[in-house]
C-alpha cells in the first residue's frame, strides 16, 4: 500500500520511494526515508493535499506525491 491509501489517524512505516530525480530527492530531503514512521493527520477540505507527521513535524503533500511512497502498517 502507499501513503495515499492511509486514513486520517493511521500510522505506517515507509518501505520505499517509487519515483526518481528531483521529486525523489525532495521527498528524501524532507525526512521521508525508508523505515521512518509516518502518521496521516488529515485531508484538506477539497480532498487534496494531505497532512502527515514525520520526524516530529507536520508535512503537507499532494495525493499524487503520497501515492509514490510505499508504506506498510
Amino acid at each position: 500500500m502507499t501513503l495515499g491509501d492511509l486514513r486520517p489517524g493511521e500510522k505506517a512505516k515507509v518501505v520505499s520511494i517509487g519515483t526518481t530525480g528531483a521529486m525523489r530527492q525532495r521527498i528524501l530531503d524532507m525526512g521521508v526515508t525508508p523505515n521512518v514512521q509516518v502518521q496521516l493527520i488529515k485531508i484538506a477540505p477539497l480532498g487534496d493535499p494531505v497532512e502527515i507527521t514525520v520526524r516530529g513535524y507536520q508535512l503537507s503533500l499532494r495525493k499524487s506525491e503520497a501515492s509514490l511512497i510505499v508504506v506498510e502498517k
Partner: protein, 677 residues
C-alpha cells in the same frame, strides 16, 4: 579585513528575524543572477567588518530548486568565512539535515538553535555541549524574536573565524559519492537521529503545550467544513482593510489603506496647489508649468498614492506569512488552483488585483515557486482593478443604458477570470511543458508575529517600490505628457504664433498622430478611430485617465450649452453633491465635474454622442472595454512587474503577452458579437 558570513536555515526557522536583528536597517536588497529570488545583504550592527548575506530558506542543499542552487553555490563556490545555520529547536531532526550538508562542505559553521522559548515550553532539554562535541562546531541557543542569544551567536562566529575552527569530519560525509541517494539520505538521517537521541531529553509532558495550540487552531482553519468560510472571512478582511471605503460595513468609514491613501492624496494636492501658485507668480512659461504640474507632480503623485496600499496590504500579508497561516492557504486552495496551473498561494495576489494591481503584483513575492510567481504577476494585469472600473461604468451606462448593465459588468469580471485561466494553462503547456511543481511543504506551527518583523517587511516593500518602480512610473508619465502636449509646430514656432504657447492641443499632438497611425489596427475590433486609441494610451498613466481623456477628446460633446442644459434641473443641494462650490453652477468647473461625478459614475446615458459614432456598436464597446481590461496595466503596475520579475526582458515579454491577449480577445468579441447579433 571584512568577513563574509552566510546565513542559512530552513524556511520558518526564524532566519529572517535573526537577519533583521543582526543588520537592523542596514540592509541592501538585490537579486541573485537569473532568478526572481531576493538577495539580502547587510553589515552587522555591532561590527561593521562583518558582512552578512542572507541565503534563501531551504530544506537541503540538493541542487534542484533555484533557492537550493543559490544556497549550495554560495557556500561551495564563494566559500564564506563562516556559515550561520539557524535551526528550529522544536524540529531538530529535519533542521539538522541541512546543517549536516553545510558542515559536510567543510566551511566554518556555527549552529544557532532558535525557538528556545518553545523548546522550554515543551520541557525538552537540549545538551549543547554534546551537540558541539558531536559536530565539532559551536552551538548557540537563541530566542530570535526577543533578540536573546544574538550577541553570543556573533561572538561564537568571531571565535570560529579567528580560530579557523572547521567542522569535525563525520564518517557519513565520505558516503556522498559512494552510495545512492536513498542510502545517503537514510544514513544522514540515521546519523542525526543518533546525535539527537544522545543530546536531547524530551519533556515528560505528553502533548506539548505549543503543538496543542497549533492543533486547536488547525481544527478550525483546516477543518473539512470551516476551512473555506474561515478563509473567505480572512480574505475579505484583508481586502477590505486595504481597499474598502465602507470598512467593516460602516458606511463612510474608510479602511486604513484608503484613509492613508486619501491623506497622501490631499497632502499632495495641497503641495501641487502651492507649487502651481509659485510657478504662476514667478511667471513660468506655460510649457514649464505644464511639465511640472501635469508631468512631474502627476507622476510623483502616482507613485506616492500607491504607497499606503502597498504598506497596509504587505503588513497584513507578512502577518499571515509569519503567523504560519499562509502555508494553510496553500493547503486549503491547492487543489482548485493546481487545475489552473497555479499554486494555492496565487489566490491572494489575484484577489488583491480586484482592488489594485500594484500591491497585488508586489504580493507575488510570497509565492515560493519561480514559475507560479511569474505567471501570477502576468495574470495580475488582467484583473479588473478599481481604476478600470471607471471605464466599465462609463461605457456600460453610455452604451448599454437600455440593456442589463449588471450583466455586462458581470461579463467583464467573468472575462477577466476565464482569460486568466486560459492564459495560465497555455503558458504552463508552452513555456513550462506541463512541469508540475512539487508540493512538499512544511505546515509550520502558528506563532504570533512580532510587530518589528511585520514592520520591517512593510517598510522594505515600500522602499523597494519607490526605488525600482518609481523611476519607471515617473519617466513613462512624463513621456506620455510630452507626446500629448507637443507636435512639430511646438519647435518651429508655429504654435507660438498661433496659440501664444509652444504647447499643442491634444487633438493635434504627437500622441494624436500616433493614434491616427495605429488606429486602423483596431478596425477588426470595431473601434479603429484615433480618439479611442489615444484613450487607451493615456490609460497607461492610470486607467481612470481613459475616461478623462475621452472627455477631453470629445469636448465638442461636452460644450457649455450641453453642460448648462445637463445641470439645469439640478437643485442647489444636488449641485453641491456633484462638487459645485456652495451649490452654485459654475461653467468653468462644469466640464471637470461632469467628467468625474457624471461620466465616471455612469450618470449620463446620452453623453458623448460623437464617441458613439467612433464606437458604433455595442459589440465594439464591449471589445473596447475588454481591450482596456486586458492590455498593459498602468505604468505603476509595470514598474511593480519590473521590480518583481527583476529583468526588463521578462517585463517586456509579459507586457507583450498582455497586449496580444487583449487584441485577440477584443477582435474575437467584436466578430462573434457581429455574428450573433
Amino acid at each position: 579585513m571584512p568577513y563574509t558570513i552566510a546565513l542559512a536555515g530552513n524556511p520558518n526557522s526564524g532566519k529572517t528575524t535573526v537577519f533583521n536583528t543582526l543588520t537592523g536597517s542596514r540592509q541592501h536588497v538585490g537579486n541573485w543572477p537569473g532568478v526572481t529570488v531576493d538577495k539580502k545583504e547587510g553589515v552587522y550592527r555591532k561590527d561593521r567588518q562583518m558582512n552578512i548575506v542572507d541565503l534563501p530558506g531551504t530544506y537541503s542543499l540538493s541542487p534542484y530548486s533555484a533557492e537550493e542552487v543559490i544556497a549550495h553555490d554560495f557556500i561551495v563556490k564563494q566559500r564564506p568565512d563562516c556559515v550561520i545555520d539557524i535551526i528550529d529547536g522544536t524540529s531538530l531532526e529535519r533542521n539538522l539535515y541541512l546543517a549536516l550538508q553545510i558542515m559536510e562542505t567543510g566551511v566554518p559553521t556555527v549552529l544557532g538553535i532558535n525557538m528556545m522559548d518553545e523548546v522550554a515550553l515543551r520541557n525538552d532539554h537540549i545538551d549543547f555541549k554534546r551537540l558541539e562535541a558531536e559536530f565539532g562546531v559551536e552551538v548557540v541557543p537563541l530566542e530570535a524574536r526577543s533578540g536573546k542569544g544574538i550577541d553570543a551567536l556573533m561572538e561564537a562566529v568571531k571565535r570560529t573565524i579567528e580560530g579557523n575552527r572547521l567542522p569535525k569530519r563525520l564518517a557519513v560525509y565520505d558516503l556522498a559519492t559512494k552510495v545512492d541517494e536513498d542510502t545517503l539520505a537514510d544514513k544522514r538521517y540515521s546519523c542525526i537521529t543518533e546525535v539527537v537521541q544522545a543530546s536531547v531529553r524530551h519533556g515528560s509532558k505528553t502533548g506539548p503545550a505549543h503543538i496543542s495550540i497549533t492543533d486547536r487552531i488547525d481544527r478550525v482553519l483546516t477543518h473539512k467544513i470551516w476551512a473555506l468560510p474561515a478563509f473567505a472571512f480572512i480574505m475579505y478582511f484583508m481586502f477590505a482593510a486595504t481597499f474598502s471605503e465602507n470598512f467593516l460595513f460602516v458606511k463612510g468609514l474608510p479602511s486604513p489603506g484608503i484613509a492613508l491613501a486619501s491623506l497622501v492624496e490631499t497632502l499632495w494636492g495641497s503641495l501641487t496647489d502651492v507649487v502651481s501658485t509659485l510657478l504662476s507668480s514667478a511667471g513660468a512659461a506655460d510649457w514649464a508649468y505644464s511639465l511640472i504640474i501635469s508631468g512631474i507632480m502627476e507622476g510623483l503623485g502616482a507613485v506616492l498614492g500607491f504607497l499606503p496600499l502597498i504598506l497596509v496590504l504587505y503588513v497584513l500579508m507578512s502577518f499571515l506569512e509569519d503567523s504560519g497561516y499562509m502555508a494553510r492557504v496553500a493547503f486549503v486552495m491547492d487543489r482548485l488552483f493546481r487545475k489552473f496551473g497555479l499554486s494555492g498561494r496565487s489566490f491572494i495576489p489575484l484577489l488583491m488585483g480586484f482592488g489594485c494591481s500594484v500591491p497585488a503584483i508586489m504580493a507575488t513575492r510570497t509565492l515560493d515557486n519561480e514559475k507560479d510567481r511569474r505567471i501570477t504577476t502576468l495574470l495580475c494585469g488582467f484583473m479588473p482593478c478599481g481604476a478600470k472600473l471607471t471605464i466599465f461604468i462609463m461605457f456600460v451606462s453610455t452604451f448599454f443604458s437600455s440593456g442589463n448593465k449588471t450583466l455586462v459588468l458581470f461579463f467583464i469580471y467573468m472575462l477577466s477570470l476565464s482569460v486568466s485561466v486560459v492564459v495560465s494553462l497555455l503558458i504552463n503547456k508552452i513555456a513550462y511543458k506541463g512541469e508540475t511543481s512539487n508540493f512538499l511543504m512544511e505546515l509550520p506551527q502558528y506563532r504570533l508575529p512580532t510587530l518589528r518583523s511585520v514592520g520591517i517587511h512593510g517598510y522594505e516593500k515600500v522602499k523597494g517600490f519607490i526605488q525600482k518602480a518609481g523611476t519607471v512610473i515617473l519617466a513613462a508619465t512624463i513621456l506620455i505628457w510630452a507626446l500629448s502636449n507637443f507636435n512639430f509646430s511646438s519647435f518651429n514656432g508655429n504654435n507660438q504664433r498661433q496659440y501664444g504657447t509652444p504647447l499643442a492641443p491634444i487633438e493635434s499632438s504627437f500622441l494624436a498622430s500616433v493614434g491616427k497611425a495605429v488606429a486602423p489596427i483596431f478596425i477588426p475590433a470595431g473601434f479603429g478611430e484615433w480618439r479611442p486609441t489615444v484613450g487607451i494610451a493615456t490609460g497607461w498613466i492610470a486607467k481612470e485617465m481613459v475616461v478623462v481623456t475621452l472627455a477631453q477628446l470629445y469636448a465638442e460633446d461636452i460644450n457649455e450649452t450641453y453642460l448648462a442644459q445637463y445641470f439645469a434641473d439640478a437643485s442647489p443641494d444636488e449641485l453641491s453633491e456633484y462638487g459645485f462650490e456652495d451649490g452654485i453652477y459654475d461653467s468653468e468647473a462644469a466640464s471637470d465635474i461632469y467628467t468625474e461625478a457624471v461620466l465616471m459614475t455612469g450618470g449620463d446615458a446620452h453623453g458623448l454622442p460623437t464617441l458613439k459614432e467612433d464606437i458604433p456598436t455595442r459589440q465594439a464597446a464591449l471589445a473596447y472595454m475588454a481591450f482596456n481590461l486586458l492590455c498593459m496595466p498602468c505604468f505603476a503596475a509595470v514598474g511593480a512587474m519590473r521590480r518583481e520579475l527583476k529583468s526588463w526582458r521578462r517585463t517586456f515579454g509579459q507586457v507583450g503577452i498582455q497586449m496580444l491577449t487583449a487584441y485577440i480577445v477584443a477582435v474575437a468579441i467584436h466578430m462573434l458579437g457581429n455574428l450573433l447579433f
